[in-house]
């Protein structure tokens, strides 16, 4: 099939960007979306044009380096990562808009590449269980009910791609933060730091340039791993619990 792509081109953070049109021909339906961009990029290189910068790595839907706004939907028409989106989701003659994640918390580096280090900083302040190497007790010393362990796992599958932020009209990072708060808060090992964790992570989220959560739910609807809105309820529950228990808010 033949397609028209309208791609966001931006040389660097300081320069203004714009949409640029490209025509791609002979696209196979079995190609992945990123393979289609690979083919375009090879052509651009041979034409002495600057290839389109986009992040990608594992190309199997787990590293979450990739992430594009495709026709205004984070990761495009299928609820999966951009690398797992295949061209069979499109039709001959389609015009496809391709943009980077747009959020104050994710400044553009170049073209479709953004800086998502704010997510790492949210983890660094509290998204962990403090268990220095060598201190661990025998693994079976603490049984974990399967129900809790499965729910923790579901939350822990968050790959940190940032689609939730890109999809949110407020640019909120709530689903990302809530997924980690839920994962660790559901495990018995995560209890000692549970109050402090939610307070510091929410404070850091506020300190980054993300918006507030108003429970719209677009985040969960585009999440490639299907992280549930229930995690946000859980975060709010933990936050209120921590404050009610007398904790001093960190922000």
């Amino acid at each position: 099939m033949n397609l028209t792509l309208k791609v966001w081109r931006q040389v660097n953070p300081a320069t203004k960007g714009k949409m640029v049109s490209y025509h791609v021909t002979d696209v196979s339906p079995d190609m992945s979306f990123l393979e289609m961009l690979d083919v375009l990029n090879e052509q651009l290189i041979l034409d002495n044009d600057d290839p389109i910068a986009f992040d990608h790595d594992c190309r199997e839907g787990i590293c979450s380096s990739c992430g594009l706004m495709i026709n205004g939907i984070a990761h495009g028409p299928q609820q999966t990562t951009t690398c797992q989106l295949h061209m069979r989701s499109f039709s001959d003659g389609d015009v496809i808009d391709i943009e980077p994640w747009r959020s104050g918390g994710f400044p553009v580096v170049k073209d479709l590449v953004v800086d998502r280090s704010a997510f790492d900083r949210i983890i660094a302040v509290g998204g962990f269980i403090s268990a220095p190497t060598g201190t661990a007790p025998e693994a079976h010393s603490t049984p974990v009910p399967k129900r809790d362990s499965d729910a923790a796992f579901d939350a822990a599958t968050c790959i940190g791609c940032g689609a939730c932020v890109a999809a949110c009209p407020n640019g909120s990072a709530m689903l990302f933060t809530a997924a980690k708060v839920s994962h660790l808060g559901l495990m018995p090992q995560g209890q000692p730091e549970r109050d402090a964790r939610v307070l510091t992570m929410v404070a850091q989220q506020d300190a980054e340039d993300f918006g507030g959560c108003t429970n719209i739910g677009e985040c969960s609807a585009v999440c490639p791993k299907g992280i549930s809105m229930e995690t946000i309820s859980r975060l709010n529950h933990d936050l209120l619990g921590a404050l009610r228990a007398g904790a001093v808010p960190a922000s």
């Binding site: 290189i45 199997e60 790492d120 998204g127």
Partner: protein, 648 residues
């Protein structure tokens, strides 16, 4: 073999393992004899760690917890994206929770045998010992392993074993283990104990007075080339499967860190030992950019088959039971579908070579879950493998619950890597190599669920002890960017970068990479022969010559330039490919994943030649086009009796 391809140097030996005590006591003894650094002195010592996968991430976190000044480098935007994240099936540990006869000794034995008797006994035994602590550590960090209704941990089986010792988190075990290490690392970053260098690629090693003292790195956003210094350097930069272009590795996975360290004097061991994983989604077209693995765990419940008749093009569901050949179950009744990877891959290839392959190009065999779905019900299969089957459906557009999956072998892992001793120290003092980047634990074939075990064993438990023994001599004399060794290394990187950008030829970097990959897959892939390897060794220097005169790299040095990154990596892959072929040609025996057609049993199994090849081939780089020098490390088997592997 002709001497022009390589020359033979002095043998080498691992002198770090305390072989004067029995094997079960060696690691304890090594820990006891290793010198210590007192906590107050640790903050005066710095360590560069390259890579944030299971090995690099766990090492950086643990060293920072211990109080060393850590400088962490990674090329992705976040340390959570290292390719360990993609490991699916599980992690082995000798917990014997199933009460099925497992033990440290059995895990040790299985791993040495699985590696076709080409791994070092001492290292493998330590790995088996440490395995149980890894599970404890990960559970304490909150890794959500699969559990049973009683709240205790579940296990499953992997290839090459008859016990259930694999711990897992659905089909995303690597992701969950990596996030455990990542979170521990982020905690240390938050505490200010780690200097971070995101989106930064190591491009050279700085060696001062015979010791590794720093690296040259390029900031991938600004293009700035800079030098970094420490008392020791740790490489946890992963394997080199992307030599083959198409592999299950991430697109960015590369050999540049280890290859450039090799060119600075680190020996490269067993480069020809590559693992071809039997169960990957087959290639669909010329534009294909990578291959996707379907976890080996699926062979717990999936049955592998092809039609008995050649060229049978019927829908698999229409082929009656009597007309199917479950070739692994037929040939290996004891292990069935769970034979080791090298064996399963070669048998799949044989079936396709016989004309019984399935799918559009005949390069595929079926992996069929029908029996398991009937026996256990669809919900149980979804719970175990849901994410894998979704991925299959997404990529192929076929429903794996309704029709058998098509799979074919693909390059997945490299057992070879930089040579290290028992302390994980390379042949350059002060440079340590961990995880897939080293060669040490898997011999000629890695068993499933052992890579995660090794990465975390090295990073959490082994390196932090052994590196202290080295750092006890430090801090070393201060070195900065004005030191002649640093100036020279940095200048060499600058020159190469400028050269790549100045050629402005007519072929893209990707086209060279594809050609190299195709050549390596055809001539140095699942089967190698003297003829094919000599052909490869004729062609690779030509390709190298063409690359350096006709490649077209776009953009500039001082900007975000992904094409330039790729060019540097492909340049290194071409050189490494040549060494892989020399190694494969010199090793005139078959062992594990290295299958020389000249050396097979009457049944077509790999035939080792222990008399002549029971050694590690450690290659020394020699500049100016002179052939590499082979240093042999003899392998001795005191505890596992050398035998022909049998899984029948």
């Amino acid at each position: 073999m002709s001497l022009e391809l390589f020359s033979v140097g002095d043998p080498i030996a691992d002198t770090a393992a305390p072989t004067d005590v029995p094997i079960g006591e060696r690691w304890s003894e090594r820990k006891f004899r290793a010198r210590l650094v007192n906590p107050a002195n640790r903050r005066k010592l710095s360590v560069i760690v390259v890579g944030t996968g299971l090995a690099g991430g766990s090492a950086a976190a643990t060293l920072a917890e211990a109080g060393y000044k850590v400088k962490s480098f990674w090329f992705q935007d976040s340390p959570r994206r290292a390719h360990s994240v993609a490991a699916q099936g599980g992690i082995n540990a000798a917990k014997n929770y199933r009460n099925d006869g497992d033990s440290v000794h059995r895990l040790f034995y299985d791993t040495v045998k699985g590696g076709d008797f080409r791994a070092r006994e001492n290292n493998v035994h330590r790995l088996a010992e440490v395995s149980t602590s890894i599970i404890d550590q990960c559970v304490a960090q909150g890794v959500p392993f699969a559990r049973e209704y009683g709240g205790l941990l579940d296990n499953r089986s992997f290839g090459g074993t008859q016990v259930s010792r694999t711990f897992y988190a659905r089909g995303q075990t690597g992701q969950q283990l990596l996030y455990g290490a990542y979170q521990a690392l982020e905690r240390q970053i938050g505490l200010g104990n780690v200097e971070t260098h995101p989106r930064t690629e190591m491009l050279d090693l700085i060696v001062v007075d015979g010791r590794a003292r720093g690296i040259v790195a390029r900031d991938l956003i600004t293009g700035q080339i800079s030098t970094h210094f420490a008392d020791a350097v740790v490489l946890g930069s992963g394997g080199y499967s992307n030599v083959f272009y198409l592999s299950t590795n991430a697109k960015g996975s590369n050999a540049t860190a280890i290859w450039r360290a090799h060119k600075k004097g680190a020996y490269f061991a067993n480069p020809c030992y590559t693992q071809i994983h039997p169960t990957c989604i087959p290639v669909a077209g010329e534009y294909q950019s990578k291959l996707t693995l379907m976890s080996e765990s699926l062979r717990n419940d999936g049955r592998v088959w092809v039609p008995k008749e050649r060229g049978d093009k019927r829908d698999p569901r229409d082929i009656p039971e009597a007309e199917r050949d479950y070739f692994l179950e037929r040939k290996y009744p004891a292990f069935g579908n769970l034979v080791p990877r090298d064996i399963a891959s070669r048998q799949a290839k044989n079936a396709c070579d016989e004309g019984r392959g399935v799918g559009p190009n005949g390069l595929g065999v079926y992996l069929d879950l029908t029996d398991a779905i009937q026996r256990l019900g669809r919900p149980a299969i979804e719970a175990k493998y849901g994410n894998l089957l979704d991925m299959y459906a997404q990529i192929t557009g076929e429903d794996p619950y309704a029709t058998p999956m098509r799979i074919y072998p693909a390059v997945h892992y490299t057992m070879g890597g930089l040579w290290v001793d028992y302390d994980l120290q390379s042949s350059i003092p002060g440079m340590f190599v961990i995880g897939e980047a080293n060669f040490s634990d898997h011999g000629a074939n890695r068993l499933g669920a052992s890579a995660l075990m090794q990465g975390l064993a090295d990073g959490y438990f082994v390196l932090p002890t052994t590196i202290a023994n080295y750092l006890a001599d430090g801090p070393f004399e201060k070195v900065d960017e004005t030191h002649p060794a640093a100036v020279e290394a940095r200048q060499a990187v600058q020159t190469q970068t400028e050269k790549l950008l100045s050629i402005n030829g007519t072929r893209t970097v990707a086209s060279f990479h594809r050609e190299l990959g195709r050549l390596m897959w055809d001539l140095c892939g699942m089967e190698r022969s003297e003829e094919s390897l000599r052909k490869a060794l004729d062609r690779i220097p030509e390709l190298k010559q063409e690359f350096w005169t006709n490649v077209k790299v776009s953009g500039e040095q001082g900007t975000f330039n992904q094409n330039l990154e790729h060019a540097g990596r492909v340049a290194d892959f071409i050189e490494l490919a040549e060494l892989m072929c020399v190694d494969a040609l010199h090793r005139n025996e078959s062992c594990g994943g290295h299958f020389r057609v000249e050396s097979q049993t009457p049944e077509g199994e790999a035939l080792r030649d222990d008399e002549n090849y029971a050694y590690v081939a450690a290659w020394e780089y020699t500049p100016d086009g002179t052939p590499p020098v082979l240093h042999r490390e003899a392998l001795e088997y005191e505890y596992v009796h050398l035998a022909q592997r049998s899984y029948k």
